[in-house]
C-alpha cells in the first residue's frame, strides 16, 4: 500500500504543478499543457490503496470524477493514463476521454464524471461475474456527496437483492465542493445507508490505511465468497480544493489545517516502522515512486497530440458501412479556434 500511496501523492503534486504552471499568469482554464478541469485527491490515498490491495486484475473498479489515486492503486498503466490527462494520442482513450474518463480494461478500471453513475456499471460487472460463475468482484468508489444520488441508492438495492459481489466505497472528505456533509444529509455515518437494504455497512473513522485494509479484506472477501455486497465508508482528508483553481473560500482555515495534519501516508509509514521496516526502505520506495511518476509525465509530454480528424472515429466500434459521423460537406476550417 505504501508504494501506491506514495506514488499517488507525488503524482498529484506533480500534476498540480504542471497544471497550474500552464495557467499563469492569470488562471485560464483553457490554457496550459493539461486541458479542462482537474480534480486531485492528495490526502485520500488510504481509501484507494487499502481497498485495491485486495483486488486482482480481473476485478473491476469504477471511480468518479476524482480517479487518479484509485487508478494507481488498481494498477492502471501510469504512462498511458498520464498521456490521457495531457490529451495525447497515446493516452488510454487516445485523448478522447480525459482525466474524468479513464478506461483501462486490462486493469479493470473505468470512470464516470457524473455523480454516482459508476455504481450501476459496477453492479453490472458483479452481475457478469456471478452469471459466469467467476469469483471476481467489483468495487465502486464515490464521494460522500454522492450518497444522496438515486444511482447509488438504487445500486445498493440491486446488488443486495441479487447478492452480487460488489463493494461500494465512500470516500468521505466532509465536502462536496462547497457543501459540508451535514448540509446535505442527516446521517453522519454514510455507511448507515446500507441498513435500509439489508446490507452490511462499515465505517472507518480515520484515514488509516491499515484499518481500511482490514475492513476491505472482510468486504472483498465476503463478495468473493459469494456472500453479497458491502458498503464501506472511509474518512479521508483532502489537502487540495475541489478542483484546481477552486479558491476554497467556503472552507474554514481550521479544516484545511486539520487535513494537512492528518497525513495518512505518514501514519502508514509510522505503522510500518513500528513493524520493523527501516527508514531507508521507505525512502527507497518513495524514490522509486518519484522516478516512475516523473518518467510517466515526461513520456506523456513527449507524445503527439491527436489528429483533429480522429474526433470522427470511435463513436461506434461497428460503424455502419459508408456512414461515419457527419463531416461537414462544406470546406472545413476547424482545428484552430
Amino acid at each position: 500500500m505504501f508504494e501506491e500511496m506514495a506514488t499517488a501523492r507525488y503524482y498529484e503534486e506533480r500534476l498540480q504543478e504542471e497544471y497550474l504552471e500552464g495557467k499563469q499568469p492569470a488562471f485560464d482554464i483553457s490554457a496550459g499543457p493539461i486541458p479542462g478541469e482537474l480534480h486531485l485527491a492528495a490526502g485520500q490515498e488510504a481509501a484507494a490503496a487499502g481497498v485495491c490491495r485486495h483486488l486482482r486484475d480481473d476485478d473491476t473498479v469504477t471511480a468518479p470524477h476524482r480517479p487518479h489515486h484509485v487508478a494507481i492503486a488498481k494498477g492502471v498503466d501510469l504512462k498511458r493514463m498520464t498521456a490521457e490527462i495531457f490529451g495525447r494520442e497515446s493516452g488510454l482513450s487516445s485523448g478522447k476521454g480525459g482525466h474524468m474518463h479513464l478506461f483501462d480494461p486490462d486493469a479493470g478500471f473505468a470512470c464516470s464524471g457524473i455523480i454516482a453513475q459508476g455504481c450501476p456499471p459496477a453492479v453490472g460487472a458483479g452481475l457478469a461475474a456471478k452469471k459466469r460463475n467467476e469469483d471476481s468482484v467489483a468495487v465502486a468508489f464515490l464521494g460522500e456527496g454522492a450518497i444522496s444520488q438515486g444511482a447509488f441508492l438504487e445500486s445498493l438495492n440491486l446488488a443486495a437483492v441479487q447478492q452480487l459481489p460488489v463493494v461500494f466505497v465512500i470516500e468521505d472528505n466532509d465536502w462536496a465542493i462547497s457543501m459540508p456533509k451535514e448540509r446535505v444529509t442527516d446521517v453522519a455515518d454514510g455507511s448507515r445507508r446500507a441498513g435500509g437494504f439489508d446490507m452490511p455497512g462499515v465505517r472507518v473513522d480515520y484515514d488509516d490505511a491499515t484499518a481500511v485494509y482490514d475492513a476491505a479484506k472482510e468486504a472483498v472477501g465476503r463478495a468473493r465468497a459469494g456472500n453479497g455486497p458491502t458498503l464501506l465508508e472511509v474518512q479521508v482528508h483532502r489537502r487540495m480544493g475541489h478542483f484546481m483553481g477552486d479558491p476554497e473560500s467556503y472552507r474554514p482555515d481550521e479544516d484545511v489545517a486539520a487535513a494537512e495534519q492528518r497525513d495518512s501516508i505518514e501514519r502508514l509509514a509510522d505503522d510500518l516502522r513500528s513493524e520493523g521496516v527501516e527508514d531507508d526502505e521507505l525512502e527507497a520506495i518513495r524514490e522509486e515512486a518519484r522516478e516512475r511518476v516523473d518518467e510517466a509525465i515526461e513520456w506523456a509530454k513527449e507524445q503527439p497530440e491527436p489528429d483533429p480528424d480522429a474526433a470522427y472515429e470511435d463513436v461506434f466500434v461497428n460503424p455502419p458501412s459508408g456512414v461515419t459521423a457527419q463531416e461537414p460537406d462544406h470546406e472545413l476550417a476547424g482545428g484552430d479556434d
Partner: protein
C-alpha cells in the same frame, strides 16, 4: 426455394413472436446473451416481448429486476463492458427520464470516451406509441430524443419480418442499440394490431443491416418517409390516394441511426415531393431532420415539403383529442395531396 423454405416463409407471425424468436435464437447460440427488465420473467413482458422465454431459459437469463431503471440499465452497461450481451427492457420508452444518464452519458458514450478501448454490446428495448388512450406519460415514441444524441443506434421495426431480422442484428452488433417497438404493432391479445405487421417470417435466422431503409411501396408522385406504426397508416393513405391517381412511394426508415439518406434522396429525385410522417413531437425531431437532409443535398429536386407529426403537445387522454393529434391515414393523405398540388 425448397418446399420446406416455402412453408417456413408462409408461416405468419405477429411482431412480438418474431422478436421473441430472434431473442431465443441468439440466447441458444450465445450463453452471454441475457434479458433483464421488469415483468419479463413470469409475466412474459407486458407487451409479450419475452413471452415463453422464462420456461426455456430460466430465471438467471430472463431476469426480473426491481423498479430501478438507473440501476439495472446501468448494470447492463457494466455487464456489456465485461463482454456479456445484455438485452435490457425499459417497459415504456416514456420512462427514459428516470435513467437517461445511464443511457446517454454512459451506454452511448463509453465507447467514444475510451477511444474504443471498451465497447458496450447491449440492446435497450422499449415499447413506444399511443392510440389506446394511455395519456401523456405512456404514449410517446420519443424517436427523436434518442436519435439526436450520439452513440446509440436506433431501430424501429414496422413488421414481423423486419422485427426479427433487425433484432438478430441488434443483438450481434457490438455497439449499443436502442430497439423501439410500437405497442400497437405487437399483436398483443388485449390490443388488436392492424393487418400489416403480421407477415411471413422464415424460421431460420437472418439479419437486416442497419441503415437500409425499405421501400414498402413504390410510387412516382410523392415520397412519404415514415417508420413504425405510421408505415401502415401511410400505406393505407397511399391506397386511398391511388384511387385518385396519386401514386405515393412509402419509405420505411427502419433505423434512424444510421439513417439511410440515399434511399430518401433517390426517391425525392424521382418524385420531387417529400412528406415526412412520424408519431413523435413535430419540432426539433425526426421530421425536421429528414427535410433538412434533403434540402441540403437535393434542394433543386424539391418541389414541395410537408410534415405530419404530433403537434408539440403532450399526448392527451380522451379519444377525440388523442385521435386529433396522432396522425392518421387521412392526415397523411391530405398532406400528400397538399404536396402534390403545390
Amino acid at each position: 426455394m425448397s418446399e420446406q423454405e416455402q412453408r417456413a416463409v408462409e408461416r405468419e407471425l405477429t411482431m412480438s413472436r418474431a422478436m421473441v424468436e430472434a431473442v431465443a435464437h441468439e440466447m441458444r447460440e450465445d450463453e452471454e446473451v441475457f434479458y433483464m427488465g421488469e415483468d419479463v420473467a413470469d409475466y412474459g413482458g407486458i407487451f409479450d416481448s419475452t413471452e415463453g422465454l422464462l420456461e426455456e431459459f430460466g430465471r438467471d437469463r430472463i431476469m426480473d429486476v426491481p423498479i430501478s431503471e438507473t440501476a439495472y440499465l446501468g448494470a447492463a452497461v457494466g455487464a456489456a463492458q465485461e463482454g456479456m450481451r445484455p438485452i435490457a427492457e425499459l417497459m415504456f420508452v416514456d420512462f427514459f427520464g428516470v435513467a437517461m444518464d445511464q443511457i446517454y452519458n454512459q451506454m452511448a458514450k463509453n465507447t467514444y470516451m475510451s477511444g474504443g478501448a471498451v465497447n458496450v454490446p447491449m440492446v435497450l428495448t422499449a415499447a413506444v406509441g399511443g392510440t389506446y388512450n394511455d395519456a401523456a406519460q405512456h404514449s410517446q415514441t420519443l424517436y427523436g430524443t434518442f436519435a439526436h444524441l450520439p452513440g446509440m443506434k436506433v431501430v424501429v421495426p414496422s413488421t414481423a419480418y423486419d422485427a426479427k431480422g433487425l433484432m438478430h442484428n441488434a443483438i450481434r452488433d457490438d455497439d449499443p442499440v436502442v430497439y423501439l417497438f410500437h405497442k400497437r404493432l405487437m399483436g398483443i391479445g388485449w390490443m388488436p394490431a392492424p393487418d400489416g405487421p403480421k407477415t411471413p417470417v422464415p424460421e431460420e435466422e437472418y439479419t437486416i443491416p442497419f441503415g437500409s431503409a425499405d421501400v414498402k411501396r413504390e410510387g412516382e408522385d410523392a415520397t412519404v418517409v415514415t417508420l413504425g406504426l405510421h408505415v401502415h397508416r401511410a400505406l393505407e393513405a397511399a391506397d386511398a390516394l391511388a384511387e385518385d391517381g396519386i401514386d405515393a412511394e412509402v419509405i420505411d426508415l427502419r433505423t434512424l441511426v444510421p439513417l439511410d439518406t440515399e434511399t430518401i434522396h433517390e426517391s425525392v429525385a424521382k418524385t420531387g415531393r417529400l412528406v415526412v410522417v412520424d408519431e413523435d413531437y413535430q419540432s426539433y425531431g425526426v421530421t425536421g431532420e429528414i427535410i433538412a437532409s434533403v434540402a441540403e443535398d437535393g434542394l433543386a429536386d424539391l418541389e414541395a415539403v410537408e410534415r405530419v407529426a404530433v403537434p408539440d403537445v403532450p399526448l392527451p387522454y380522451a379519444r377525440p383529442m388523442e385521435n386529433e393529434v396522432v396522425p392518421d391515414s387521412e392526415d397523411i393523405e391530405s398532406a400528400v395531396r397538399s404536396a402534390h398540388d403545390a
